[in-house]
Symmetry: C2
Subunit: 361 residues, 2 copies
Amino acid sequence: MQTLTVGLGERSYPIHIGQELLGEGELLQAYLPRKRVAIITNTTVAPLYLARLQQTLQAIGVSSVPVVLPDGEEYKTYETLNLIYDALLRNRCERSTPLIALGGGVIGDMTGFAAATYLRGVPFIQIPTTLLAQVDSSVGGKTGINHPLGKNMIGAFYQPQLVLADTDTLNTLPDNELAAGMAEVIKYGLIRDLPFLEWLEQNMEKLMARDTAALQYAIARSCRNKAEVVAADERESGERALLNLGHTFGHAIESGMGYGNWLHGEGVAAGTVMAADLSQRLGWISARDVERVRNLFERARLPVIAPDLGTDKYLELMGLDKKVEGGKIRFVLLKQIGSAVVYGDVPPELLRQTLEACVHG
Amino acid sequence: MQTLTVGLGERSYPIHIGQELLGEGELLQAYLPRKRVAIITNTTVAPLYLARLQQTLQAIGVSSVPVVLPDGEEYKTYETLNLIYDALLRNRCERSTPLIALGGGVIGDMTGFAAATYLRGVPFIQIPTTLLAQVDSSVGGKTGINHPLGKNMIGAFYQPQLVLADTDTLNTLPDNELAAGMAEVIKYGLIRDLPFLEWLEQNMEKLMARDTAALQYAIARSCRNKAEVVAADERESGERALLNLGHTFGHAIESGMGYGNWLHGEGVAAGTVMAADLSQRLGWISARDVERVRNLFERARLPVIAPDLGTDKYLELMGLDKKVEGGKIRFVLLKQIGSAVVYGDVPPELLRQTLEACVHG
């Protein structure tokens, strides 16, 4: 087991990464003085891991209220969030009752937002069961739900007290979800950690074959990268925006195709290739660099060509993105491989060229 | 004009109290660098004060998006909150676009919660137009909405950047709403400021006649009391709970009668008399003290007898209250007039006696 800390002053918290953590009650004990929790999970994860977690809790004398939600990005809505509120109220959960998120990014984001807003805030523990959630969404305190007019438009910054990333849960992860998580792993290398990118280029086949040691290394290094960024900029006023490499394009893809049809990581992969293409058009990186980016995503079995929504549709979808400031779209782009920047002065014609060049035509 | 500060470190903010503040653009200017705001108000307040505020903003070069909601506690719901989100998204409001709450407590609570959760948090300014909002809900950062299973169950602690309490707006306030606000004013005297309580006993008729100087004094002193409590305990882990004197009973009355049928302050008045009665049964205050409490509320034209919902219904309604800890109801009670405490060991038979004695029979 490896342990990192997200350093946020009084909101600091540990991330434990390792095998069989779902059985390690003593990691949870200190956070459950009242011996009662609510576990928020979904219909896919519950049959796999809910009973195991409940047994572990029972062994340390903690009773649990399970809340099992429908599975899928299309359920990341107020209506589903309200199922959590209903269950918490009906079971008389109190300000001191922690919520445990057991599942992927959607469960983590919704549970975190429920924790941020139920009774104006209750304690919150993340037990991510997908690669995406282990390396990205469960670290850093971004919580929220989608709105019909845009993804993650409603939410809060709310930090968990503890993150347990049990790598054994990845054994049951479908291949396309493993790949989707890998998109965010690759992202850390691209934006700020060139040695890690090179390590990924050497070890991608091992990772895709679910080699335990390789996965644990990649997860821990991703979490460390994310923890450093979040510690420096909790509320995304500066450096944290770099974590959104590929996300402005990626969110447009996800939204334009209808939530749930493209996985988040798939949108990020194709979107990052678009960001690399745009960086090349600005003269920052070479055609070979773009090829290098594309190649690594392909080895992670991720899409590198975006759907052809039409340029105008892309522009419209991106206009609603949260990273808009003073009416201008601010892109996260690659100054070089291993170093990203936020840039708000993209010439519209270059953007149009990218939107035409990087899609299925 | 009087100015106080709510001291919360980097989240500190000023409260300005005085006449004609809706016309004072320079008080707002520093908070609106981007020259664009959204004003959230309701169908009652908009015809009275929206144009005035928009003119003031226009004079300092700030454009505004008005969002006019239906008026009433029964609209303090997710559905109404979503009208705010919709308007913000359709008007492409960004992370830097402040929300101004122009209205009473419901508008302030909903606007604050929208500000806490839209794009994970945007700036927020309170311009309260009712006495209740000026002395209570606009100060301290409690925001939220009601849930079918309980009042204020969904929300966040989220501080405004500025509060402007324009006492002129009280001229259009209906009598029953003036009285409802006075319930919270009296509360500050009861829980922690005996000299203020004595001042209120001397000046209640002036206040009810809307004497400007008396109102400004009472508002400023109420805000100072609240600011001191909030500064000491922002997230209600201790002293701040004392502000809930009368609220456990009061919420039960409001909820049991159907939201909107009893004004919040009316519930608090009758609820505070119940809390005083229970304090007497515990041997802490005298029958004369209870009479003194009842008498002051009566002079403020507030109800001092609760509706007869039935003892069991009261107990059920209070069981869902946020102030439950470890399965026990923790009451705010009067150790003496001018000094409240939180107490979790009320003998059930005394509580039943109060619930039977203080209602219409």
